[in-house]
């Protein structure tokens, strides 16, 4: 799922400075699961913002709402009436949710309250790690199910660089070397021979974001 973390508090305070009544909109999906922008974390941020503004003598009224998924137009539109009551919206959903609101509320300023960080997995409660870059052209079948695009700092496709030491990456020593993982898994799957195949240069331009924002259109699904 999408993982996010709250933006620095001062940054949020700074861009909310001109307002005295806003809506804080959370999201009931990914950001709830990663404890960044669900009802609880939204309410915590709202309470903190109210007190911080009270503290500087400029009270801020905050309405709170948490649609089930901010990235679906129907859920986003549920906010219509509330948005009519406020000067701006602070959205603690991912960047997608922010833009769904942007699209449907053209005259309201929508501010992001979290930094959308990565597509990741829960490795233990409270710890998430990046697993996918949404490159649009999955190569996991070639790399024993471990993605070097998302998990190698240099996105190497043909083996580990010289900075792989004791299974860890030299750039962040707490990070596993993706190629060590690929090697170990290939070994346990009995597929070491596959690592000798040269993986050709990735065709970034075809499906990745490098050829502009992507779009999936299923003609059969359109209504």
């Amino acid at each position: 799922m999408i993982k996010a973390e709250q933006k620095p508090f001062e940054e949020i305070l700074e861009y909310l400075a001109p307002y005295n009544k806003i809506l804080l909109s959370g999201c009931g999906a990914c950001v709830t699961v990663c404890h960044a922008g669900g009802e609880k974390d939204g309410a915590l941020l709202a309470s903190a913002l109210r007190m911080a503004r009270q503290n500087i003598g400029k009270p801020l009224e905050i309405l709170e709402s948490t649609p089930a998924r901010q990235c679906e137009p129907e859920f986003a539109l549920e906010l219509s009436d509330t948005i009519g009551l406020v000067q701006a919206v602070l959205s603690v959903s991912c960047g997608v949710g922010v833009q769904t609101l942007t699209r449907h509320f053209p005259t309201t300023q929508i501010y992001p309250g979290v930094n959308t960080t990565f597509l990741g997995e829960t490795v233990e409660h409270g710890v998430w790690e990046e697993r996918c870059q949404a490159c649009g052209n999955c190569i996991l079948e070639k790399t024993a199910g471990v993605c070097p695009i998302a998990r190698c700092a240099k996105q190497l496709l043909n083996g580990p660089c010289g900075g792989s030491s004791n299974g860890k990456c030299e750039i962040k020593r707490e990070t596993d070397c993706a190629w060590q993982l690929i090697y170990d898994r290939s070994k346990s799957l009995g597929q070491l021979h596959r690592l000798t195949e040269i993986i050709p240069a990735k065709q970034w331009g075809v499906q990745s974001r490098d050829s502009g924002p992507r779009r999936i259109a299923r003609e059969d699904l359109k209504v």
Binding site: G28, A29, T32, V33, H35, G38, E39, K40, D41, A43, T66, P67, A68, R69, F75, T122, H125
Partner: protein
């Protein structure tokens, strides 16, 4: 908002039916005692024993410290009562592979060594898996240096005859305690028990210990008796030094009776045999069992009770009990009293044939649940699971929900919930309420 920690709305708490069925894991003396007692009250009991014989750790023992009976004979009688009764079913060479559900709807999957599987639906589970022992290698060649279990065997074999080891007469024996497991009583109990028997055979006995632990019923008396009979006791700070002599082992220990350190002399105990207490440790298989049962482990990987302030035989899950050496190494008397405590608890739980959950109880609003697993991971009582509806895998709907539809959402089992509210406070969707 914080003023309303409990919602006043009362929720109907339906009793869960508890059939009189118990699953006991481990066929040692604790498991067998619990089984026998429960069966007498009409409870259907299944004992799952991973080995091919019943008896567990007590198979190494022959003497009680507090009564003249023979342990093996006593245990033989116990085993035969199990095999007589119709309420007890013993599965040997069997292991618990899975335990699903909660109190009132436990589903246990047992696999036997021949690969067959059996599903049981017990109302309670009693874990009595014991612990393991490892020999202490105080002397590399093991010559004239034996474990407590081997001494037990020698004594049992010699009965009314003088003690002999490998055909040689044994006249002097030194027990060395507390080289490992500094915190348990078994070594003291076994050593003094054996010392008294040996003394009666005319042997000269010394016991070398860091600290004698006599806080078991009747032990002080036995200790005094041993002293009166002439057993010598030495305390040590630095572990004794062992060396072979021509015809025995010399155990050198500093005599601590002198208060001033510089006045302490080294005493050399020439012994025909040295007995060293084995190391007791948690069974490595406990780890896997705890994963299956969702139980807590404590120091050294042993099973851990729910809360020592309350009942020590309760696990962190309602309906699952612990007793005996799986918690910590115990002497038979201690283990049996735990077995009886478990019997009491099980009896109380099964007494009415049903368990009615008590408030406060936490409940998940399935419409708000994001299925993030936070509550499932944090519940200290493993009372929460994720409820699926058939093969459907859907999110909670935001507003309208058909009351008859079970969305995929976390579900707190009322019968397993202790009402602490940890899940309520952690839920990122604020979807959980604690009802009064």
């Amino acid at each position: 908002m914080y003023q309303t920690i409990y919602e006043s709305k009362s929720i109907t708490l339906n009793p869960v039916v508890l059939k009189s069925e118990a699953l006991i894991i481990g066929g040692g003396i604790v498991g067998m005692t619990v089984a026998r007692e429960l069966a007498r009250e009409g409870v259907q009991v299944v004992i799952v024993e991973k080995g091919e014989t019943l008896g567990g750790g007590a198979r190494d023992l022959h003497f009680f410290y507090d009564r003249p009976a023979d342990v093996q004979k006593w245990m033989g009688d116990l085993i035969s009562t199990l095999e007589d009764g119709g309420n007890i079913h013993v599965l040997k060479g069997a292991k618990l592979k899975r335990l699903d559900g909660q109190l009132g709807r436990f589903q246990a999957l047992i696999r036997t060594s021949d690969g067959r599987e059996k599903t049981l639906s017990p109302s309670v589970v009693v874990v009595a898996t014991g612990c393991i022992t490892r020999p202490v290698e105080a002397m590399s060649d093991g010559n004239r240096c034996i474990g407590s279990a081997e001494m037990e065997k020698l004594l049992a074999e010699s009965r009314d005859m003088p003690l002999a080891w490998k055909g040689q007469p044994v006249k002097t024996v030194t027990f060395i305690l507390d080289l490992t497991n500094d915190d348990i009583k078994i070594h003291t109990v076994n050593a003094i028990k054996q010392a008294v028997i040996l003394q009666e055979k005319g042997c000269r006995i010394a016991v070398v210990a860091r600290d004698l632990k006599v806080s078991v019923s009747g032990m002080e008396l036995l200790y005094r008796q041993a002293r009166e009979k002439g057993v010598l006791f030495f305390k040590y700070d630095d572990p004794p030094v062992l060396s072979h002599t021509d015809d025995g082992i010399s155990v050198e220990v500093q005599d601590m009776t002198a208060l001033r350190k510089e006045e302490r002399e080294v005493v050399s105990l020439l012994s025909d045999l040295v007995v060293i207490g084995e190391t007791f440790a948690a069974d490595p298989e406990t780890q896997e069992l705890c994963r299956v049962l969702k139980l807590r482990t404590g120091a050294g990987g042993a099973l851990m009770e729910d809360n020592p302030q309350f009942l020590r035989v309760m696990s962190n899950r309602r309906g699952i009990f612990l007793a005996g050496a799986c918690r910590f190494p115990q002497v038979i008397t201690e283990s049996l009293s735990e077995a009886h405590a478990v019997v009491q608890e099980v009896r109380a739980l099964l007494h009415e044939g049903a368990y009615t959950p008590e408030n406060p109880i936490a409940e998940v609003d399935t419409r708000k649940c994001a299925v993030c697993y936070t509550c499932v991971r944090l519940c200290p009582h493993a009372a929460i699971g994720v409820e699926r509806c058939g093969e459907r895998n859907v999110y909670a709907a935001p507003a309208e929900k058909d009351e008859n539809t079970l969305w995929q959402a976390a579900r707190i089992e009322p019968a397993a919930c202790f009402g602490c509210g940890i899940c309520v406070a952690e839920c990122p969707a604020r979807a959980i309420t604690l009802y009064h």
